[in-house]
Symmetry: C2
Subunit: 193 residues, 2 copies
DNA sequence: TCCATCATGTAAACAGTTACATGATTGC
DNA sequence: GCAATCATGTAACTGTTTACATGATGGA
C-alpha cells in the first residue's frame, strides 16, 4: 500500500467528487484549474487511472449511448479508504513546509542582473500577480453557491497571491527606497506618455 | 538553446554565487534549504551538472590538494548568459500563477472526511505551520548580515507561511464558527490535562 | 459530406527518486 | 589503525512531458 502522490490523490478526489466519470472529465478539471501545478496532460492522466484501477482503487464500466471506448471510472471501496488515508491526518511533514515560489527562487540570484533588470523583474511580477488576483476574484464570484470547500480553496489561492503581492511591494521598496511604496508604477519611459 | 528547468536555473545560480565549487557543495545548499521543493538527491545533482557542462554552460577543473575525483564547476560565459535569460524578464507566465499548496489541494476533497477528521486536519496543519514559521524566523535572524537578497528571500518564505496561517484560521472558523477565532487550540481531550 | 474539435490514447525521451556502492578523509 | 562520515557517484525504476495518431461527434 504505497503512499499516493499529489496527482494520484487529486485524481481519486476528483472521481470521488464527480461520481463515475471518464478520464477525460478528470483531465478537464485539471485543465480548467487556475493552478499551473496541474498540467492535465493526457500522457499523465490516462496511464494514471489505469494504474489506479489495476491497484483496485478504481472500478470501471463502459459508457453507454455512445461508441466511444473510454470507460467510466468510480471510486472502489479500497479507493475511498486510500483517499481518506491520503488526506486525513497525520499530514506528511513536507506539506507544511514553505511552498515553492519561482519568483522567490529567482530573487536569490539577483546578483547576476543589472539594477535596471531587477526593477523590470519586480515591475513585471507585480503587474502579473495583480492580473492573477483579478482572475481569482472572478473565480470566487462564480462559486458563490458551489460546494462549501470550493470557496475556501479559492480564498486560499487568493490569500497566497496577496501575500506575494505584499512581499513584492517590499522587494520593490528595497530596490528603490524612494519609489516602492505605492501601486506598481508604469515603466519610466511611459511616465510622461 | 532550450529553456532551463527550475532545478537547472537554481544550480547555475548557486554556482554563480559560490564561485567554483563541487557538485557536492551545490547539493549541500539544497539540502540546507528549508523548502521541501529541493530534495538535493545525488541522483539529481551529479547527472545535472554533467549535462550542463556538456551543454557548455559550466566549465570544470580538477580540485587540487586532495585525491578526490569530484571536479570544481564554474559558470562558463554561455552559462552566465543563460542564467540571466532564465531569470530576467520576460517571466514565464506560470511563474506568476497560484503557487501549489498541498493543504489547499486536500481541502478540495474534504467531503470524504468526517467532521472530526476535518477539525483534526486543520488543527494539525495550524500547529505545523506555526512551527515552520518559528523555524523561518530563526533563519531570518541568522542572516542579519548575509547577502542583500538572502534576507528578502527568507521574508518571502515567511510571508507565504503567514498567509497560510491566516487562511487556516479562516478555515477553522468556517468549520466551527464558535471556536475558530483564536490561536490553534489543543485537542479537546487535552483541554483539562 | 466535410471540417472542427472532442475524446482517447500511445511511444519516446527525459528527469528525478531510491537505494546502493565505494573511495577519501578525519577524529580518536 | 579503525570507525564514522564525507564525498562521489551509478543503476533501476517510476512518473511526466511532448508530440503524435486516430476515431467519434456535431454543426455548416
Amino acid at each position: 500500500m504505497r503512499q499516493l502522490s499529489e496527482l494520484e490523490g487529486a485524481v481519486l478526489g476528483i472521481i470521488g467528487l464527480e461520481g463515475p466519470c471518464t478520464a477525460y472529465a478528470v483531465r478537464a478539471r485539471f485543465l480548467a484549474s487556475p493552478s499551473p501545478q496541474w498540467s492535465g496532460s493526457a500522457g499523465a492522466i490516462y496511464p494514471l487511472v489505469e494504474r489506479l484501477e489495476r491497484r483496485g482503487l478504481l472500478s470501471s464500466k463502459a459508457q453507454k449511448g455512445t461508441r466511444r471506448k473510454g470507460r467510466l471510472y468510480a471510486l472502489a471501496p479500497a479507493g475511498r479508504r486510500t483517499l481518506r488515508a491520503w488526506l486525513a491526518p497525520p499530514l506528511p511533514g513536507w506539506a507544511l513546509g514553505v511552498p515553492p515560489d519561482p519568483l522567490r527562487t529567482r530573487l536569490g540570484f539577483f546578483h547576476v542582473l543589472s539594477p535596471g533588470e531587477r526593477q523590470a523583474f519586480v515591475q513585471e511580477a507585480r503587474e502579473g500577480v495583480s492580473l492573477q488576483i483579478r482572475a481569482i476574484r472572478e473565480d470566487l464570484k462564480s462559486c458563490r453557491d458551489a460546494a462549501p470547500w470550493r470557496r475556501l480553496v479559492a480564498r486560499g489561492a487568493l490569500a497566497s497571491l496577496k501575500a506575494r503581492q505584499a512581499w513584492l511591494r517590499e522587494v520593490a521598496a528595497a530596490l528603490d527606497p524612494a519609489a516602492g511604496a505605492g501601486r506598481p508604477r508604469r515603466r519610466r519611459s511611459a511616465r510622461h506618455g
